[in-house]
């Protein structure tokens, strides 16, 4: 076999386990979902096989679904920006600190040892009217009445940021770890300020991590349903709640399938854009 042919085959050998797993356990099942989205749910709850466009018609034209999809994307965007603003400096600190980095990272993942539901519900003990924050405020005499802080959009975002921040920090940290500190020093010695050196050398080189973290935060917050259930008020539902309700509460799998394919479409387009502009291909060119 020629060297070239081997060169050509190698990446596919490396990719084959991951692609097989994803193909078999994601794409084939997804095909079932596509088929299901054209079925109909009958009044008794059984599904009627066939080719009906009703679910798609409903999912695409009903302003109810569209409105919630947009507000979900908005919440996801705010969450992502908040994670970046909070997470980048922290990741920078970990990457440049002389202490025990592994321990710092492990500490960051600490909240995950406490189950998601418990963690989310524990905000009641912190921000609730008889929670820790109000107790401190009352005792300091800052307020005379406990403040109602929970169950609105900001608390949903707060819960999401708390859940997703570690993903952002880890991604940025990993990218920063790959940036040589001496590059920044060199820039400084050539007369730039610290801030200039950071902006022109470190920041661009850490962009892949920031982008990967941002993508994760955005996609995961767009797909979340427990956080708005626990921390949201009556009108703070997100798109995944609709999917969950259609599939679990109403047992309407055909409609739920159409709804989730719609979300998949929107997020998939986003990932394609990411891969085109910030993804590997583009970055390789930039580095090459």
């Amino acid at each position: 076999m020629s060297v070239e042919a081997r060169e050509r085959r190698q990446p596919w050998i490396l990719l084959s386990p991951a692609l097989t797993a994803i193909g078999l356990l994601l794409f084939v099942p997804l095909f079932f979902i596509v088929v299901y989205s054209f079925w109909l749910r009958t009044a008794t709850g059984a599904d009627q096989a066939g080719f009906y466009l009703d679910n798609w018609n409903e999912a695409l034209t009903d302003p109810f679904y569209r409105d919630i999809l947009f507000s979900t994307l908005r919440i996801a965007a705010i969450t992502t920006v908040a994670c970046a603003v909070l997470g980048y400096p922290a990741a920078y600190f970990i990457a440049r600190s002389k202490g025990n980095k592994a321990l710092l990272l492990l500490l960051l993942m600490l909240p995950f040892w406490i189950s998601y539901i418990i963690r989310t519900m524990s905000w009641i003990n912190i921000l609730g009217v008889s929670g820790a924050v109000n107790w401190v405020l009352l005792n300091l005499g800052i307020t005379s009445e406990p403040i109602q802080m929970l169950y609105n959009e900001p608390t949903v975002i707060l819960g999401l940021v708390h859940f997703l921040l570690p993903f952002m920090v880890l991604n940025v940290y990993v990218a920063l770890e790959g940036v040589d500190v001496s590059l920044e020093d060199a820039a400084c010695s050539l007369g730039s300020t610290r801030w200039q050196a950071f902006r022109e050398v470190t920041l661009p080189l850490s962009l892949p991590g920031l982008a990967a973290g941002g993508l994760l935060c955005f996609v995961l917050s767009a797909g979340t349903y427990i956080t708005p259930l626990v921390l949201g008020g009556p009108t703070d539902a997100m798109y995944a709640n609709l999917v969950f309700e259609a599939i679990i509460t109403q047992l309407n799998w055909p409609l739920g399938s159409a709804l989730s394919l719609m979300l998949l479409g929107v997020l998939g387009a986003l990932v394609l854009v990411y891969n085109h502009y910030l993804g590997m291909g583009q970055l390789m060119k930039g580095l090459g």
Partner: protein, 379 residues
């Protein structure tokens, strides 16, 4: 019954060499001879089943079941009980719907609604009541509801009951006020931002019917009902999803009033929280059952149901979850704690409770769950 199926399975095992010829013929004979009657042979046929799957709530409930029913059952029959848990009835039904026949056997379900839903989906079985002697202790009114859904037969045994009444913090709302306002306490603008509500469409429609002075099992003016649901939503701090959340919201004084599950409110009172609980006229009564899903090994399941209905199991489970058992207190001594539980009826007639009419509710399920889903989200 599915004796044919049992035969098929035995034949398969015989052909595979798992059963020897004599035993096989003996079992066939037994199956033919003893149709539903307990004979030593039938006992052997029972042993052909190796395990039964049970799904229910976790924590104290599953601990009580394991100790008082599963372990003694396994000791007696040699059949293993594999137990699983679920977080809610809807989620479990989705799992059953996506499963293969025979994978799930018995489940601890919410009585009438789920029963009718499973029956509609063709997931019900037919119990041979002669195999469940403990069924005689059960309050007849509870079984009658099920029989009416499945043409006089049973696919489940009733297990416990409770109410969804009104729970209020007595520091802020007096007993008199609660009694006077009843269901309308939940749409009282004076408590705006301090009201909670279960995010279940049936409970919402039920209470909205009460708030608009209609029969909860036959509301005629649905526009008024939905208007009341909207009014409630606008005054609400939060729709809660689980008993854990309900208790935490009340205990931490996030909310002063909500509808609540009798057993959970009792648990709060037990811990010294000053929470009042009333069932308004036509308050929401409900029951739970142990449902046997189609395709299960019937005789093995019936025997297990009998263990689970046994007074000591029923009482242990009831004391764990604070809902009275389905056993008739005039026939069984239920101990000291159970008579103190809310919703408990010492007469065993349950005349004071209004249960949901499954036909009425399930015929509107699709439309109403969707409408509520929208109202809930502010539309």
């Amino acid at each position: 019954m599915d004796n044919t199926k049992r035969y098929e399975r035995m034949r398969e095992r015989y052909l595979n060499g798992d059963l020897d010829r004599r035993k096989f013929l003996g079992l066939i004979g037994a199956a033919g001879l003893a149709y539903g009657v307990h004979t030593p042979f039938a006992r052997q046929a029972l042993a052909a089943t190796e395990q039964v799957r049970f799904d229910g709530w976790g924590g104290v409930v599953s601990e009580a079941f394991r100790k008082y029913a599963f372990d003694p059952y396994t000791k007696k029959t040699g059949i293993k009980v594999v137990d699983g848990t679920f977080g809610g009835g809807d989620e479990y039904l989705s799992r059953v719907k996506a499963s293969q026949e025979g994978e799930y056997n018995i489940a601890h379900l919410s009585g009438v609604f789920d029963y009718a839903r499973y029956a509609n989906l063709g997931l019900n079985s037919t119990l041979n009541e002669a195999n469940i002697p403990n069924l005689k202790f059960v309050i007849p009114k509870l079984t009658d509801v099920f029989r009416s859904v499945t043409d006089g037969t049973l696919s489940c045994v009733p297990y416990d009951y409770g109410t969804t009444g009104i729970a209020y913090n007595r520091k802020y709302i007096s007993d008199e006020e609660a009694k006077e306002k009843g269901a309308k306490l939940l749409i009282d603008a004076a408590y705006k931002g301090k009201i909670g509500g279960w995010s279940d469409w049936r409970t919402r429609v039920w209470y909205a019917s009460l708030q608009t002075d209609q029969d909860p099992n036959d509301a005629t003016d649905m526009d008024a009902v939905w208007e009341a649901v909207r009014t409630n939503r606008d005054l609400l701090l939060k729709y809660w999803q689980s008993g854990a959340e309900l208790m935490s919201l009340l205990a931490e004084e996030e909310i002063y009033v909500t509808e609540g599950w009798s057993g959970r409110i009792y648990a709060l009172q037990e811990q010294g929280k000053d929470i009042g609980y009333i069932d308004p006229p036509n308050g929401f009564g409900w029951q739970e059952c142990l449902f046997v899903i189609k395709g299960s090994p019937m005789e093995a399941c019936e025997e297990l149901l009998n263990f689970m209905l046994a007074p000591e199991t029923s009482i242990a489970v009831a004391e764990g979850q604070n809902y009275p058992p389905a056993l008739d207190p005039t026939k069984v001594n239920l101990g000291d704690k159970i008579p103190t539980l809310p919703a408990f009826d010492p007469t065993g007639k349950l005349d004071g409770l209004t249960f949901a009419n499954p036909e009425y509710w399930n015929s509107h399920e699709q439309a109403w769950s969707k409408t509520f889903g929208r109202i809930q989200k502010g539309y």
